[in-house]
């Protein structure tokens, strides 16, 4: 089955494959060429068909949309896995991946048939017509508005587009910075006796989040002071209180 390749895509050079809106659709069309039930298609044959198709497209010096190449790479990998005996595969679920792909193709196929079925229905306005001169009688309560959901959503979208100029103010969280902790520790730590690091946390940082931030900042500050050789750190076991003293 031969397909024409034509039509310039929006990007100018990237060419969409004629009639296919994506790789999955191309795969479906190729699968149909196998003329078997979709449940029984050979994924190996399909991978070969797909790759051959893309090679032809490239010979015609068409640049393919990236998504086609991604699927090509994936199919190539899947093919390599399917060809190996199961015990030598990197991908233990290669058969399952192949089944998934067949399943997706079947679903897409069914949905496309559903779309064709809908298109063939006697549609309102082309095969069935409403009253040409409605008399606007009913609905007593409808002294109301005439606006559609689409109109409302369009108004919403206009708001969204304008939102750029809006200023959002958030309360500044009271968190301790490492700089502040460094300054505080250097100032408060005097004498050479061991003291608990937590004893140096500011007393007004009692809520959970500020307290954690103060502890974390003080810990980092203590590491920095130790690195500078100004203090010593000591901990007897994991999670035990961290003791510090000036050198």
């Amino acid at each position: 089955m031969e397909h024409r390749l034509s039509g310039a895509g929006e990007g100018g050079f990237v060419v969409e494959l004629d009639g296919f809106s994506g790789p999955l659709e191309l795969l479906l069309d190729l699968a149909r060429a196998q003329k078997v039930d979709l449940a029984a298609i050979s994924i190996l044959a399909l991978a070969d068909q797909y790759l051959a198709y893309l090679r032809r497209a490239r010979r015609m010096q068409l640049r393919l949309a990236a998504e086609y190449l991604v699927i090509a790479a994936w199919l190539l990998y899947l093919k390599s896995q399917l060809l190996l005996p199961p015990e030598e595969r990197d991908e233990p679920d290669a058969d399952e991946m192949a089944r998934d792909l067949a399943e997706r193709l079947r679903l897409l196929d069914a949905v496309r048939r559903g779309a064709a079925w809908l298109a063939g229905r006697p549609r309102l306005g082309s095969a069935r017509f409403p009253r040409g001169m409605p008399e606007d009688l009913p609905r007593r309560r409808e002294g109301g508005a005439a606006a559609t959901l689409a109109e409302l959503l369009r108004a919403c979208a206009r708001l969204g587009a304008r939102r750029g100029g809006e200023v959002v103010r958030m309360p500044r969280p009271r968190l301790m910075t490492v700089e502040a902790a460094l300054e505080r520790l250097s100032r408060l730590l005097v004498g050479r006796e061991w003291r608990e690091l937590s004893a140096f946390l500011p007393p007004d940082y009692m809520e959970l989040l500020p307290r954690r931030s103060a502890l974390a900042a003080s810990f980092v500050a203590s590491l920095e002071l130790a690195r500078r050789g100004e203090i010593e750190l000591h901990q007897t076991r994991p999670f035990a209180p961290l003791m510090i003293r000036r050198r």
Partner: protein, 178 residues
């Protein structure tokens, strides 16, 4: 397919027509399938006494609801009012930010909200006042009504796409006319 009944063709034609049709116009559609004159009169006879009549005025034919039924059909006293772009936008702000004061609506839209706009939205039953904001001046806050959901066929306010979705996902991205 069996050939359609010419009377059915005339009936459907008149039903769907956007204006009263002359006998000649009906004949043109019928072609060789029948004679417009007798068919129109037969149709008129069939509809006599029903809720709908086939009327002929100035040589043109049209279906009309029976005039004596008018009192029972509850004609609305007002035609539904079209909402202006400004009104729709105000409605959108209320829908997303409710409860919201008029000042807050103006801050979002960047323009003053005229009294008439809010009045119209209240009259059409789409929004209603709900309490006051505890700030200086105690301005009224506005919310959407259950009728709002009903009118737009939404099951809850949650059905409205978020502004980011409208923006990012291209849904109703305002075109250049925005």
């Amino acid at each position: 397919m069996t050939a359609p009944d010419p009377l059915s063709i005339v009936e459907a034609l008149l039903f769907a027509a956007a204006e009263p049709l002359s006998e000649g116009a009906v004949q043109e559609v019928l072609g060789q399938r029948g004679e417009a004159g007798p068919l129109l009169r037969e149709l008129q006879r069939q509809y006599a006494g029903r809720g709908v009549r086939l009327e002929c005025g100035g040589g043109r034919w049209a279906f009309r609801t029976a005039p004596e039924l008018a009192p029972f059909l509850q004609r609305p006293d007002r035609r539904p009012r079209r909402l202006s772009a400004a009104a729709l936008e105000t409605l959108a702000v209320i829908a997303y930010r409710q409860p919201v004061t008029r000042g807050e609506i103006e801050a979002v839209r960047g323009v003053a909200v005229s009294r008439g706009t809010l009045d119209l939205l209240v009259e059409t039953g789409l929004v209603a006042p709900r309490g006051r904001k505890e700030v200086p001046g105690r301005p009224v806050m506005w919310v959407t009504t259950p009728h709002f959901l009903d009118h737009f066929g939404l099951s809850s306010l949650d059905d409205l796409p978020r502004l980011e979705e409208l923006e990012g996902a291209s849904l109703f991205k305002p075109a250049a006319d925005g």
